[in-house]
Amino acid sequence: MTTGVPRRRLLGFAGAGVALAGAGAAAGAFATRQSPEVENVAAAKVPFRGEVQAGITTPAQDHMHFVALDVKTTSRDELIDLLKQWTLAAERMTAGQEAAENGAVGGNAAAPPRDTGEALDLPASALTLTIGFGPSLFDDRFGLKDKRPEALIDLPRFPQDQLDPLRSNGDICIQACANDPQVAVHAIRNLVRIGFGRVAVRWSQLGFGRTSSTTRSQVTPRNMFGFKDGTRNIKAEDTDLLHDHVWATDGPEWIRGGTYLVARRIRMHIEIWDRTSLTEQEQIIGRTKGEGAPLGQQKEFDEPDLHVRGAGGVPLIGETSHIRLASAESLNGVRILRRGYNFTDGSDGLGHLDAGLFFLGFSRDSRTHYVPMQQALSTKDKMMEYVEHTGSAHFAVPPGVKEGEFWGQGLFR
């Protein structure tokens, strides 16, 4: 993987607006996040170590593989050892290398290869790997009970939740995002393999097509309803907002500078949606479908004006429209950084696509941020007639991994 010429995604370069004579030119030159205009380039490498974990404010990559794991070992030392091994492999893979040196080929031929090999010829593809710890990890098994942050609550049941226990919760999560789906899947596959015997996969989710942008240079993508999603998301450039709403400053030492992640699998009844008139679709969202302008305004990035009313004094952005209920104005100024992905897990056996949006929302405290927002949406949002929350999980995401440290080291001090 370190030497091969990228064989895939070459066409994607043009889409990213970067003129490249040859793929080789890309290697190394795009190693940092300081070049947002090349963030979708296949060869881009995102540093694994830093103040905060990569994969939160990193420009949202196009693909995701998310896994939730249950810890099976009851030994604290084995868990620590696993986190160390994971850290090594994760750092290598985000640099575009195999999970272990000479992992795919070149090792002992009598042994199964230590890297599964499917990413052998693929570049780093801006792979990021982000770890989080769920409420269930903080029980008696590993002596972590007093390390559980108060903010890491068991999420309440929201009205209309249809949660599948087989798609919910978990002791540990790992989010892999990359511009090539095979790179993301390779990373999760190899980390899971390293963990066999100590952790077991509880559930996992593939996502294609980011549904939010996390930097200003990214075009707002569309979700499976066909609408632009994440126009008003917090962006990497909004350092004040990140400070106020995303990075935790309270709780036990190990989580400070980290954040909390709520993951929700939101099934969309897209066949029903597709039979809904354009006017009604736009009223449900509160934006126009083409431009993405808030109703009553002209351009996508015009601020929504919740106080504009039409004929008969009826609000243009309706009382039950999605953007009104999810807006900071309606939620006491609260905002969340989102990194959602579209998904389609085949069909449901009744001839309907099992499709939707895998919501990933980061905030400094889910109790003040996610919970009130979802409470408002699940009780009032007209969109609830077209969606069903089928999976849910909550994780504390520790701050970045410094040189010489391993993933979540602070938790075991």
Binding site: P156, R157, P159, Q160, D161, Q162, H269, E271, I272, R275, T276, S277, T279, E280, Q283, T288, G290, E291, A293, P294, L295, G296, Q297, Q298, K299, D302, D305, H307, V308, R309, G310, A311, G312, G313, L316, G349, L350, G351, H352, Q375, T379, K382, E385
Partner: protein, 371 residues
């Protein structure tokens, strides 16, 4: 538990989808609002979109309105703080003498000014006699179903209160049939729908679980409870309120068409999955009733559809027939098999028939709203 019938008639205020941000030079009208004045830079416009840029130069929070005759609001923007500018785009469809108003302090009649709109009418004409007949005919249907809903709910409630569990179980799907046939109309009365038809997993936190499904749970699962009588009385009172209100509903042809579509959405998301009647498994009764209601609405519109799009009319006939056939296979006595008795293949066949019908039904609104 589904949506209220939504009015999708002509929007008087539109969001322009394209074009440069309006500036004073390119046709938008500047409004300078102060605590005692409302200066509108131009007091004439042509029919079509009219854009106002309202700036509050006063000390009080203000609002800006555009009124048609009789103080009918065409558009307004509220809550404009001192120093702020806000934009209001109004689609004016008719020429005439209008009024602008600033309301410093957001109260009173405001500071009025005349505003003249000239040009051709942009309003769509829908003086179609066939459509007028359609809405009247459907209203008669709603009214007759509502009467039956009231009567059958009363029988059901009486059986519950007399502790005649078997009778109550037999009456449950019958009373619900009339509810499900006119559900989109009933649902347009906001708070009553969750009280009458809320499912345990769908109601809001803190809201009591009441209505048909609570009694369903009592009858089939937990046995009649101490408060079952009270729940039954409340159900009857709520249903009577719906019955009275549904007679006053006035529907447009587009609402009728959307109601027909929503009934099929109900089937596709609630009944086909067996979620609706999870204790009694009488989902197929509700399924039948939703399809009946959808068919009644489409039947009322059929003469108009026939006139405007003959092919769509015959497609609708064929797909309703196909769904009927798929459903009637599962009849048992006066009613239907339990949802539990359906095989996965049978459920899938029903889902496919609903999808096949849902597509053409979703096209009816467009056809009846076409000029």
């Amino acid at each position: 538990m589904r949506k209220a019938v939504v009015i999708l008639g002509s929007l008087a205020v539109l969001a322009a989808c394209s074009g440069k941000p309006a500036s004073n030079a390119s046709g938008s009208i500047a409004v300078e609002a102060t605590d005692d004045a409302c200066k509108v830079s131009k007091t004439e416009a042509s029919t079509g979109p009219v854009t106002f840029e309202v700036t509050n130069k006063g000390a009080k929070v203000t609002e800006f309105y555009l009124y048609a005759e009789g103080d009918r609001i065409l558009g307004e923007v509220e809550n404009i703080g001192p120093g702020l500018s806000r934009k209001l785009i109004v689609e004016v469809t008719e020429p005439g003498k209008l009024q602008t108003a600033c309301k410093p302090g957001m109260k009173g009649d405001g500071i009025r000014g005349d505003f003249t709109v000239t040009g051709d009418s942009k309003k769509s004409s829908d003086g179609n006699a066939l459509l007028g007949d359609a809405t009247k005919s459907y209203q008669r249907y709603v009214s007759s179903q509502a009467d039956q809903l009231g009567a059958k709910t009363e029988e059901f409630v009486n059986a519950v209160k007399a502790k005649k569990v078997d009778d109550a179980k037999a009456l449950f799907p019958v009373a619900r049939t009339y509810w499900e046939r006119i559900e989109p109309v009933a649902e347009s009365f906001g708070d009553l729908d969750p009280k009458i038809d809320g499912r345990e997993d769908k109601i809001e936190n803190g809201q009591p679980f009441t209505g048909f499904h609570r009694l369903e749970k009592d009858l089939w699962e937990s046995g009649l409870q101490a408060d079952s009588d009270k729940i039954a009385d409340q159900l009857l009172a709520d249903v009577k309120e719906i019955v009275a209100k549904s007679k006053t509903v006035e529907l447009t042809p587009v609402e009728l068409a959307n109601g027909a579509k929503e009934l099929l959405d109900e089937v596709a998301t609630g009944k086909i999955t067996g979620e609706e009647d999870r204790y009694s498994h009488t989902d197929l009764w509700d399924f039948r009733a939703n399809v009946d209601g959808s068919q009644a609405a489409i039947a009322a519109l059929r003469p108009a559809v026939e006139q405007k799009d003959k092919a769509l009319a015959s497609t609708l006939d064929a797909k309703f027939k196909a769904l009927d056939e798929a459903l009637e296979k599962h009849r048992k006595g006066d009613g239907f098999k339990s949802y539990k008795e359906l095989s996965q293949d049978e459920v899938k066949a029903l889902a496919e028939a609903v999808d096949a019908l849902g597509e053409p039904v979703s096209k009816v609104a467009e056809v009846v709203s076409a000029k």
